[in-house]
């Protein structure tokens, strides 16, 4: 659950963070892609059950409901709120996910490649490390063959293919799929699906902060530029500033 991707965020005047109260939140876009991929795997009979997990305050349940409406079977809400949630980091989430993956005997953990709020891009890698499972990060294609996954990854110069043994952790890139919209009947059905509530303590995970946020500030704003009337003026301006 993150602030909706289309929202223009505001930094708090006391520089402690970003205003989240009364701001539209949604499921992290990369996580929608992860959910969609899991649902497709179930539709192809590659997966028997899908469990969605969210760590956060009470409102995280809405995000879980969205996942349930997309086709997930059941949810686990790891309740973390208040100051503890403010400093919750990928290291904590990955330990929680690893514990749940073991408890639930999952064969595959799919997460988004990054959350669009903290932009960390760490959770999949760290979960894989805690579990000692292989990782397939930034996946744009996943194919299952026997006990393996063949994963096409988006890398800097193009694409790369790797093969990992199950169980594994995969992180979804934007181009993995096009997430479906939950239909009204499915949203209604999702209300009946179970969500189990647990705490980090139940799972034996210590969520004490590893970082201290010193400040959160607005980035420097750019000086407004000018609109040029034609290509000739544009070239003249670029020449003036030494760019051409």
């Amino acid at each position: 659950r993150v602030i909706d991707y289309a929202v223009k965020i505001r930094v708090k005047p006391d520089k402690s963070g970003v205003v989240t109260d009364g701001v539209k939140h949604s499921m992290n876009p990369f996580d929608e892609i992860a959910v969609e991929e899991a649902v497709r795997m179930k539709e192809k009979k590659l997966a028997s059950e899908i469990v969605a997990v969210s760590c956060g305050p009470a409102q995280a349940q809405e995000t879980l409901r969205t996942a349930l409406a997309m086709g997930v079977d059941r949810g686990i809400h790891v309740e973390i709120s208040g100051p503890e949630y403010e400093t919750l980091q990928p290291i904590h989430v990955s330990k929680i996910l690893a514990k749940i993956a073991q408890d639930e005997k999952a064969d595959l953990v799919i997460v988004g490649k990054q959350a669009i709020d903290d932009d960390s891009n760490q959770t999949a890698q760290m979960t894989a490390a805690v579990l000692d499972w292989p990782q397939g990060t930034f996946a744009s294609k996943i194919e299952k063959t026997d006990g393996n996954l063949t994963i096409t990854r988006e890398i800097d110069g193009g694409l790369e293919t790797i093969k990992v043994k199950l169980p594994a952790v995969v992180s979804a890139d934007l181009r993995l799929n096009e997430p479906r919209y939950a239909t009204l009947p499915n949203i209604m059905k999702a209300k009946k699906k179970p969500i189990k509530k647990v705490s980090a303590k139940d799972l034996g995970v210590d969520t004490s902060p590893r970082i201290e946020i010193v400040s959160v500030e607005d980035p420097p704003t750019r000086q407004a530029g000018s609109v040029v009337p034609d290509v000739d003026t544009l070239i003249a301006k670029l020449k003036e500033s030494g760019h051409v």
Binding site: I211, E212, L238
Partner: protein, 335 residues
């Protein structure tokens, strides 16, 4: 209870002594393709020098000779550790992580750094989790050995944070640090700790790299970038001609990639590449938050768009409200 307290005090005073007696030391994980060093490593070196203390570079791969030599010439290095092993074919994090852990065990670095590229982003968090520390991604500034600056919310807020972990694991945003000179040093080359690093759980199958004669996107001085307004992949030829004239790299917005106009590795933005060239020319790009996250640190931004209300004009130094299909060929011709 009392016993417990006594223990805690003992432990913390012990740690205090350790910190005092131990200097900063940084390990940079070199990124390369078994032939050449990736330029981001030189940017990471500049970041490392801001931390103070000794700097070592680890070169791991299936073929390291040429790269190790290149690295040994970088200024200011105390050591170049080389691990040549077939296990590192494809630079899989599953085989590199145990190597880095073994190196860390031997030399006790206070900082481990790499560039925030697909390679660094994939590898460092895995290492961090194994060391039970919280990694810090895509750092744009270093205020001290434990205080770092990074952006959050697609570059719309700047966070300063203090790490409490004993080892700091940091990926560095290349465009925020100058590249260190490629000559002038004479680092001592040594073998890295040896071990059985082959991974039984993952395997590199192959790569499909986009070939291009144009400069590499993240290092280019000029970038010409196209968006949905280009309408088709064929029309990108207009941008290629302009780019060739300016010795520029070509980039794209997510819309252009999703529409299949160009391959994904050209995407600039929050989830694509982050660039900061001298000159960025945005053609047919509206300027969504996610795109701006990848290019708004460019020195000069030019926008060509027929919609005068497009948000890109709020960040552009020079805006041209015009049909790109007329303006771009005219620009190419007149340059």
């Amino acid at each position: 209870m009392l016993l417990g307290c006594g223990r805690i005090i003992q432990k913390s005073s012990g740690q205090g002594f350790k910190v005092l007696s131990r200097l900063q030391s940084t390990l940079i994980i070199a990124e390369h393709n078994n032939e050449k060093l990736t330029p981001i490593t030189r940017h990471a070196l500049t970041a490392a020098t801001k931390l103070g203390g000794e700097i070592s570079v680890l070169v791991a791969g299936s073929k390291c000779g040429a790269v190790a030599e290149e690295v040994s010439k970088l200024p200011g290095l105390s050591k170049v550790l080389v691990a040549e092993n077939a296990a590192f074919n494809g630079f899989l994090p599953e085989s590199l992580t145990p190597l880095i852990l073994a190196t860390q065990k031997q030399f006790n670095y206070t900082h481990i750094l790499a560039g925030a590229t697909a390679f660094g982003k994939s590898l460092l968090p895995r290492v961090a989790a194994k060391l039970d520390v919280s990694p810090i991604s895509d750092v744009i500034g270093i205020n001290g050995p434990d205080t770092f600056i990074r952006t959050i919310y697609a570059g719309n807020a700047i966070q300063t944070l203090k790490s409490k972990d004993s080892v700091k694991i940091i990926s560095v945003r290349g465009t925020s640090f100058e590249a260190a000179p490629s000559e002038g040093g004479s680092g001592k080359v040594e073998p890295a700790p040896s071990g059985e690093y082959a991974s039984s759980v993952s395997e590199f199958v192959g790569q499909e790299l986009s070939k291009s004669d144009r400069p590499e996107l993240t290092a280019a001085k000029v970038i010409v970038s196209g968006g949905r307004g280009m309408k088709s992949g064929d029309n990108f030829k207009l941008l290629y001609s302009l780019a060739d004239k300016m010795n520029a790299a070509v980039g794209a917005s997510r819309a252009a990639v999703d529409a299949g106009f160009v391959p994904n590795d050209l995407q600039i933005g929050q989830t694509g590449k982050i660039v900061a060239p001298e000159l960025y020319i945005a053609v047919g790009i509206s300027g969504a938050i996610q795109h701006l996250a990848g290019m708004k640190d460019s020195k000069t931004i030019v926008a060509i768009n027929k919609d005068p209300e497009a948000p890109i004009f709020q960040v552009s130094d020079y805006g041209l409200v015009a049909d790109l299909f007329k303006a771009v060929p005219e620009l190419t011709e007149k340059l």
